[in-house]
């Protein structure tokens, strides 16, 4: 009897020791709502704007209906420009190593098919030069990018629909192309719906993107190795309608889900860590989140529909 009691005590002790560790493992990361991006008149009502974080200067750029707004690290608008520019429809923005603002826009000329332009602006948003993409192989003559990323002297132009990424130098001279669809080795039926919903590049130069109809998030390394994660489902960590994807300095991957209205966090090996937020119109909740970016202070910026603006969360790690 005494022996059994001792055994029971040992089991209880083990459980007490293991339980907190297990809990910590289940939730090593937590997201807390901070605020929505705002001006001095209140929160700004965006729906699915483009967003870019200038990691060096800790500023956030938002492109919405042809106006570019700049926010400081506390989420307040400090500058805006663009409404008087004759640039066509601005579809994306990035910054080069000198702090110049690069704008990707669609120009309306004889045909929309190739009617895009990249404009280099100074920090005030004043156009200074046009970056023309040069030496593009003829088979990509109809290439129409809708995402643009600048990284370490290279300009990455991505077409989400055709899943092609063109890499140029900072002056637009063609360097290489990633024709992503064949790289994924999909079945014929899967190819029908294959289209990227988001595109970003992590600190190691890996491409990150999602394909919602396949319920997957992909990574392609600079040496063209493809890996992916994701399964359909509504339980934590699974995908309903996966959308934006980004990574932080640790290599953790953040994915937003339009249907689930949550931000899901995975480690660099695609292990699910936790998810935060859910559907709702109140502050801190999300409506059809579309894109996500993370700044160097672990602030997570989430764009969404319903004129709910950009919600900012602070991520903390145990």
């Amino acid at each position: 009897m005494r022996y059994r009691k001792k055994q029971l005590l040992i089991i209880i002790a083990i459980v007490l020791l293991v339980l907190p560790a297990a809990t910590a493992k289940a939730q090593p990361v937590k997201g807390t709502y901070l605020y929505n991006l705002s001006s001095f008149t209140g929160t700004i009502s965006f729906s699915w704007p483009r967003i870019f974080v200038d990691q060096e200067r800790n500023e956030v750029y938002v492109v919405y209906q042809n106006i570019i707004r700049v926010f400081n690290a506390t989420g307040m608008e400090v500058y805006s420009f663009g409404d008087d520019l004759d640039l066509g429809t601005i579809v994306d923005l990035t910054l080069d190593q000198d702090g110049n603002i690069l704008l990707l826009s669609y120009k309306w000329s004889e045909t929309i098919d190739t009617g895009y332009e990249i404009t280099r602006c100074n920090y005030r948003g004043e156009p200074k030069s046009i970056i023309a993409v040069k030496n593009l192989p003829p088979q990509y003559s109809k290439f129409l990018p809708n995402r643009m990323v600048y990284r370490e002297g290279n300009l990455y132009l991505a077409s989400l629909v055709t899943m092609v990424v063109v890499v140029t130098d900072s002056d637009g001279v063609f360097k290489e192309v990633y024709d992503i669809l064949p790289m994924l080795e999909l079945e014929e039926k899967e190819k029908q719906d294959a289209m990227m919903d988001a595109f970003s590049i992590d600190k190691d130069g890996d491409f990150l993107f999602t394909i919602p109809p396949l319920f997957r998030a992909y990574k392609i390394t600079p040496d063209r190795k493809v890996s992916y994660f994701g399964k359909s489902g509504s339980t934590p960590g699974k995908f309903n309608i996966v959308a934006g994807i980004a990574s932080d300095e640790r290599g953790n991957i953040f994915v937003v889900d339009k249907l689930k209205c949550a931000v899901m966090v995975y480690d660099k090996n695609f292990n699910f860590l936790n998810q935060f937020s859910s559907r709702g119109w109140r502050p801190g909740f999300l409506i059809a989140p579309e894109d996500v970016v993370v700044d160097r202070e672990d602030r997570v910026y989430v764009t969404q529909a319903g004129n709910k603006g950009i919600s900012v969360f602070k991520v903390t790690y145990n």
Partner: protein, 426 residues
Amino acid sequence: MKALKLSLVILAAALLTIGLSGMAYAFHSGGVADCDGCHSMHAPKTGGTALLQGTDYSSTCLNCHANAATGSYHVMTYPFPGAGAAPIDYNVGGDFAWLQKTYTYAGHPSSVTENGQDHGHNVIAADFGLTVDSNYTQSPGGTFPSAKLACNSCHDPHGKYRRIGGDTTYTIATSGAPIIASGSSNTSPVPTATQAVGSYRLLAGLNYSQDAGTTAISYPGVPLASAPGYGIAEAAAIATRVAYGVGTVSGSTTWGHWCGACHATFHSTGNYVHPIDQAMSSTIINNYGSYVSSGIMTGTAASSYLSLVPFATNSGDYAVLKPLAKQGAPTAGPNSGDQVMCLSCHRGHASGFQSMLRWGMNYEFITIADGSGNAEYPGTDNGAAASAAQGRTSAEWQAAYYGRPASAFGASGYQRVLCNKCHAQD
């Protein structure tokens, strides 16, 4: 023994789950899509129905079908373009973002406002800012309640309507054989006797009810069509033809009768309205084949098809329709028996024009000419008269015509409205 049985059941369930998780499908594939794309089994919306997550039915659809990127399976430019910028999704049905483009311009005696909601079907999608039509409480020409209008008013979200048994000889039903693929494309497989393909764009047919059976819509059948490929855009730079057909077998119908389920009095049968579902006369056929642009009647019938003025081929045989569905090469105009339909003049979703027409009717000219005599759209940005520009920039006009440059309507401009493609009165 009991424990063993239970273990086997659990093991079988686990294997089944693992097995299914590994299977990947294209999303709709002509029928019901992956449940997790619309329903949330474990985190549904509070107070919602059917475990759906969007505020309403259309919001759920637009989670995937709205996007800033053009093409593929998108039907709405989102976010909505700002003032002077144009919706840029050239899907054949039309871009729902036009519903948000309201134009105000100088008129006589007072300014004119053209409300965005006049540009198409006002599907309600609260998450995306699309609200109920405030002009009509019921469908024009019919009795369908505007407050119920959603994507699933026309499209069966579960895609039960199917074509079984072949391209030439087939039956239309909601069961009887499994749907193996989309039936919308000219590359869709030919279903065998024990197979089916989905209806065109998952459109609804006989005995359909939206909202889980609470709102019946008396479609006389499914309409027939074949598109050149899967998710196509009607790019102006590339000749694009969806081959619309004429349904004759049980469970299928003509396009006019299908639209007539909600717009009954607009149908031509017994009404003094434009003919619908009727064979085009030889005069109309000849006009269509010869018409190039205003005043120019030197065209060739064999290459006269214009996607801004489509028609229905007088056939329900997919072996006939599929080869007609093309993108990239000009195709022929109508033959004897081919029919005019609602979609000859209107888009299905929305357009850049009132009444979701395929071209503007508020000014006699589509294009004008600049100081050098070159064709241009009459925009607010190029000094055109207010009555011609109608509050639009030239870029918005161009997008409304699916990216066609003004010169596509003739190098010297002054193209008149496209009623003339058939009637040649210009």
